[in-house]
């Protein structure tokens, strides 16, 4: 009874709900960035195979079909991809890792203190320190560089996101009563452009305890990724 009521409500919302949900993790999450080179599709942050390291991965330009669309997709030299790290839980970036394309390579700066933070954090200038570099990979030619304990990658990857988005739309439209089991991964077979960085945890100051109520004794960082366009 309760369930059918819920479905009726969701179904009656119809198109409104579709616009609420759109697509997936962050793919095309808002009108202004959809389909642009600045559209972030996903962000991952996890401990590396070496537990002394963190790995950050940002994906942009989602739903690239195999073949020509993937081969022709390129990073944009006017788009800065910026990983933000807040170590003292004030939700303001203390350190950033910046990535931007020049020529055939991706250049990386940091982790270092940003020129603008907090309320001014929508604005960035690129650090003046000497960058690290990695050649941008192609589908067949994977390039990884290592320097100062860090590893760098930039190029096409399989989209790691998985979701039965089509069935979800059916549910929202009221034409299905729930998900299928098994469902069908709408993102199967599609690619993204990825920037992946692995770096020693020792490059960061300690995180803050008491942030995550489910792991209160564990020091936590707040991390996020932004894309910014050159003015």
């Amino acid at each position: 009874m309760k369930k059918s009521k819920l479905f009726t409500i969701i179904g009656s919302l119809g198109i409104a709900c579709l616009s609420i949900f759109l697509i997936s993790a962050d793919h095309m999450d808002a009108p202004a960035v959809t389909g642009t080179t600045a559209d972030i599709t996903d962000f991952y942050a996890f401990q590396g195979a070496n537990s002394s390291n963190f790995v950050f991965a940002a994906n942009v330009q989602g739903l690239l079909a195999p073949g020509t669309p993937t081969e022709q997709a390129t990073f944009d030299e006017t788009i800065l991809i910026e990983f933000n790290i807040d170590h003292n839980n004030d939700l303001k970036e203390d350190l950033v890792i910046q990535a931007i394309k020049r020529g055939d390579s991706m250049y990386f700066f940091g982790p270092s203190a940003p020129a603008f933070s907090g309320t001014e954090g929508t604005k960035s200038t690129i650090a003046t320190s000497t960058p690290n570099r990695v050649m941008i990979s192609t589908v067949d030619n994977v390039q990884i560089s290592e320097n100062n304990g860090m590893k760098f990658f930039a190029g096409p990857r399989e989209d790691p996101f998985f979701f039965d988005f089509n069935q979800y739309n059916e549910v929202l439209a009221g034409t299905a009563s729930g998900f299928d089991n098994p469902g069908e991964d709408t993102f199967a077979g599609s690619n993204v452009l990825s920037v992946v960085i692995e770096f020693p945890k020792s490059m960061l100051p300690n995180g803050t305890t008491g942030v995550n109520p489910y792991a209160p004794a564990t020091p936590i960082y707040n991390v996020w990724v932004e894309t910014k366009r050159k003015q």
Binding site: A25, A57, T122, T125, N147, P160, F162, Q167, V196, N222
Partner: protein
């Protein structure tokens, strides 16, 4: 003649041993090489330039200018699920420290639109507390230990490639206090990616 031969042999052996030692030292240097240490090392073809990791030698690159934010992401699906027409773009250009004040109320309204029967979820959060956590769109990352969005034991300590973030989100939105409500809506039936992740850098799978 014969002794000269031995001397040559010894010299060759000694030299090759020297090379072995040198190689080891070189390896150590490469591990510590940086593009800023003022010495020619690693794969560099000039001091702090060239090779695969440093700026090409003799190349001056322009990194000047001001860059203004267009998209932002902390946790997966936040703007997609809780943003609605009219403030999705604004959310993407709001800094995390100002998100709660600007969007928590809107998120709560949308949560209760999606699930009017929402009371609390499996994390014990009522609608206000749940949307307060989510409106601060940053990803919590544990300094040590397992990093996962939710694996049954650890909760919100990072986001690994294999994490089923959609099922976590659906469960917390629709599943009620013990995850048992709306069973048809709490999992999309896609528990894993369609490609296998690598155990080594860059971890993401090769493109199709």
């Amino acid at each position: 003649m014969k002794s000269f031969k031995y001397i040559t042999l010894c010299a060759t052996l000694a030299t090759s041993l020297l090379f072995v030692q040198c190689k080891d030292e070189d390896d150590n240097v490469i591990i510590n090489a940086t593009c800023t240490d003022g010495i020619l090392n690693g794969e560099e073809t000039g001091i702090d330039c060239g090779g695969s990791a440093c700026t090409p030698c003799g190349e001056v690159l322009d990194f000047s200018g001001t860059y203004i934010q267009e998209d932002q992401m902390g946790r997966p699906g936040i703007n997609t699920i809780f943003g609605t027409t009219g403030f999705k773009d604004a959310f993407n250009v709001t800094v995390p420290s100002e998100m709660q004040a600007a969007f928590q109320n809107k998120f709560q309204t949308n949560l209760l639109t999606l699930n009017p029967a929402y009371t609390t979820n499996a994390l014990g959060l009522n609608a206000e507390d749940f949307t307060t956590v989510l409106s601060n769109d940053v990803l919590w990352l544990a300094q040590s230990g397992v990093t996962t969005y939710l694996n049954g034991t650890e909760i919100l300590t990072g986001r690994a490639l294999s994490d089923d973030v959609i099922d976590v989100s659906l469960l917390l939105i629709f599943g009620g206090p013990d995850g048992s409500e709306n069973p048809g809506l709490t999992s999309d039936g896609v528990p894993a990616n369609d490609a296998t992740f690598a155990t080594t850098f860059p971890y993401l799978a090769d493109p199709f």
